[in-house]
């Protein structure tokens, strides 16, 4: 099975690099893609789905050149193929109105305020990805050492493999 994808959408190169560096531990079990704006991100999503990979998580900045992050997340939520993708906003500049829109219309799963700490970001990503794989992936074992092992093992208990 090909690895599910984590997509990082961020226009500022240094910030994107910091984001990618902090989620590097997840690369063991996930393919990490990057995009600099919504259009670029949409291409990445199309490619991911065409390659028959699951889009597990999108970490998305709000203020991007052109279309905003929230608007991109709303479009992901409206497409049945990406509705179950976990959606996290990583931003410092989303106003109340946009944030409300993200929660109500984009099915936002988490809001990470900039600047983030490595530990808290990894915790959020771990929780979101653990939720995602329990819900959408058959074989959980490849994720036990990367994500929340205890929760995954609890789920394995109910999967019932033939001994």
């Amino acid at each position: 099975m090909s690895k599910p994808v984590i997509l990082c959408v961020e226009d500022e190169v240094e910030v994107r690099d910091a984001l990618l560096r902090d989620i590097q531990p997840f690369a063991q079990a996930f393919k990490i893609d990057e995009a600099e704006d919504a259009a670029d991100a949409r291409d990445a999503v199309t490619q991911c789905l065409q390659a028959d990979r699951k889009l597990a998580l999108v970490l998305c900045d709000h203020l991007l050149p052109g279309e905003t992050g929230v608007s991109f997340l709303v479009s992901l939520n409206e497409d049945p193929k990406t509705r179950s993708t976990r959606k996290v906003l990583v931003t410092g500049q989303a106003g109340l109105e946009d944030t409300v829109k993200a929660v109500n219309d984009a099915g936002l799963d988490h809001y990470v305020a900039k600047p983030w700490t490595k530990e808290s970001l990894q915790e959020v990503v771990t929780r979101q990805l653990t939720d995602y794989v329990i819900e959408h992936v058959d074989d959980l074992l490849p994720y036990v050492s990367v994500l929340d092992g205890a929760r995954l093992l609890e789920a394995v208990k109910h999967r019932g493999r033939h001994e």
Binding site: G149, A150, L153, K157, H162
Partner: protein, 462 residues
């Protein structure tokens, strides 16, 4: 679909039709039909071209269509085809009801977190000395896996040790030891009761068809002493190998038992079922009838909802049913006698025959599923034991095959508990192969050396 699956499917189809084109002297026509089914089952169970439980239902349907009274082909001359009900009936074989009872108890234990809490409480007396913790983990895992599936037990116990594993430095041998002792103990513990693991049920089901019944307590009496010796041996080598001696481990042992009314109903049902299983001699209800008691109680009291009922692992039961159906077909159509006639068994001693059966089971189930192995080998073992001139007791033959299946734990693919341990990242295949082969061959040797003698001693074997 992968290439391996195509090959599996193609060879299953070729093997299925082979006996239709090649005539084997001495084998009746109906035997040819079942031989095709048997060969195709081997191919499908080894390659997993279709899921294991799908192979089981294929066998049942194929037997109904080819050798039952409702078949689509006319029955060969002189062959009295068995009722199709016999084959459908394997899906509700008494031994499956026994297992269903076990599933209810295991599902409830997980639902009310009884397993997790009990594990922590039971670990307390073992203190903080590392070798004692290792012993505690081994014993508790083994006892749990006697009543829950080996895989569920491993998942439960691994969750107990994961936090402490993460505090140990990556190179620490104890990390490997902690993650490895659990699947090994779960595989060994699974031998301990009739519901410990599907191969036990397959052996019991096959014996019951020949009128030989083993009750819950008898099985435990036969297996548990051996389980304990193998566990003790495993403990001694693992504490050395993974440098537990002289160290300390702090496990989190906090527990909060669910005290809601449904949880309490479940606890009582659980305890009562086990007591009933152990006292068959006093009340006369067989293990499979007792197994149906928690089903009735937990559904009537609404402790189990329809959702709980749906989430049980029915596919595991159906796989066992497929094995039973295969045994029925092989026995009813004269394939058994013909197969046995192929070899000069009289030249082999009974010990050698039993050893060969157990070893074949061990080797095969190292690479394929234990249940599938038992499904394929138990019918052959039973036939062998029933034929003239061979002094092998059917019970010995069937139980040794079941044990051989459980002792196969050398590779990550040997059994799901092993796969769970490797998934933690702390166990390499090398570690698993070493401990798995040493404990497995020691266990097999012990059973071969002392099994029949001890079973006769405790009066299970006449």
């Amino acid at each position: 679909m992968t290439k391996g699956r195509y090959i599996g499917l193609a060879s299953a189809i070729v093997l299925f039709f082979l006996p239709w084109f090649v005539e084997f002297p001495g084998l009746p026509v109906e035997g040819h039909r079942v031989l095709g089914i048997f060969l195709a089952a081997i191919a499908l169970w080894i390659t997993e071209a279709v899921p294991l439980h799908a192979t089981a239902v294929i066998i049942i349907l194929a037997e109904i269509l080819l050798v039952s009274d409702k078949g689509i082909l006319s029955a060969p001359e002189g062959f009295e085809p068995p009722s199709f009900r016999l084959f459908f009936g394997t899906l509700a074989d008494p031994v499956l009801m026994l297992f269903l009872g076990g599933f209810f108890l295991a599902h409830g234990a997980a639902k009310f977190a009884l397993d997790r809490n009990l594990a922590r409480v039971l670990l307390r007396p073992f203190g903080t000395s590392a070798p004692m913790i290792l012993l505690g983990l081994i014993i508790i895992t083994a006892v749990f896996s006697m009543f829950m599936s080996n895989t569920a037990t491993t998942a439960t116990m691994m969750a107990v040790v994961l936090p402490v594993m993460s505090t140990l430095p990556p190179g620490d041998r104890m990390r490997t030891g902690l993650a490895l002792c659990i699947p090994i103990a779960a595989n060994i513990g699974g031998m301990g009761t009739p519901i410990g693991t599907p191969p036990n049920a397959i052996a019991i089901g096959a014996l019951a068809r020949d009128g030989i019944s083993i009750d819950f307590l008898q099985w435990m009496l036969m297996a548990v002493p051996f389980v304990l010796v193998i566990l003790a041996f495993t403990w001694v080598i693992m504490r050395q190998l993974y440098r537990f001696n002289g160290k300390r481990i702090e496990l989190s042992i906090e527990s909060t038992f669910d005290t809601s009314i449904p949880a309490k109903v479940f606890y009582v049902t659980f305890a009562a079922t086990i007591v009933l299983w152990l006292t068959t001699k006093m009340h006369g209800m067989s293990s499979s009838i007792v197994g149906f008691v928690p089903v009735v109680v937990l559904l009537s009291t609404r402790v189990f909802s329809p959702k709980d009922l749906q989430s049980l692992q029915w596919h595991v039961l159906w796989l066992v049913a497929g094995g039973i159906a295969l045994g029925v077909g092989v026995g009813r159509c004269g394939l058994d006698a013909w197969l046995i006639g192929l070899v000069e068994w009289n030249s082999l001693s009974s010990t050698m025959i039993v050893a060969a059966l157990a070893l074949t089971a061990l080797v095969l189930s190292t690479v394929i599923s234990n249940s599938a192995t038992a499904n394929l080998i138990v019918p052959l073992a039973m036939t062998l034991a029933a034929s003239d001139g061979i002094a092998v007791d059917p019970m010995v033959a069937a139980v040794f095959v079941a044990i051989g299946c459980s002792l196969a734990m050398a590779l990550p693919i040997s059994t799901p508990p092993n796969a769970v341990a490797v998934a933690t990242g702390a166990v390499r295949t090398r570690d698993m192969a070493l401990v798995g082969i040493v404990a497995g061959s020691m266990g097999l040797g012990l059973f071969l050396f002392a099994g029949q003698w001890y079973w006769a001693l405790v009066g299970v074997l006449r």
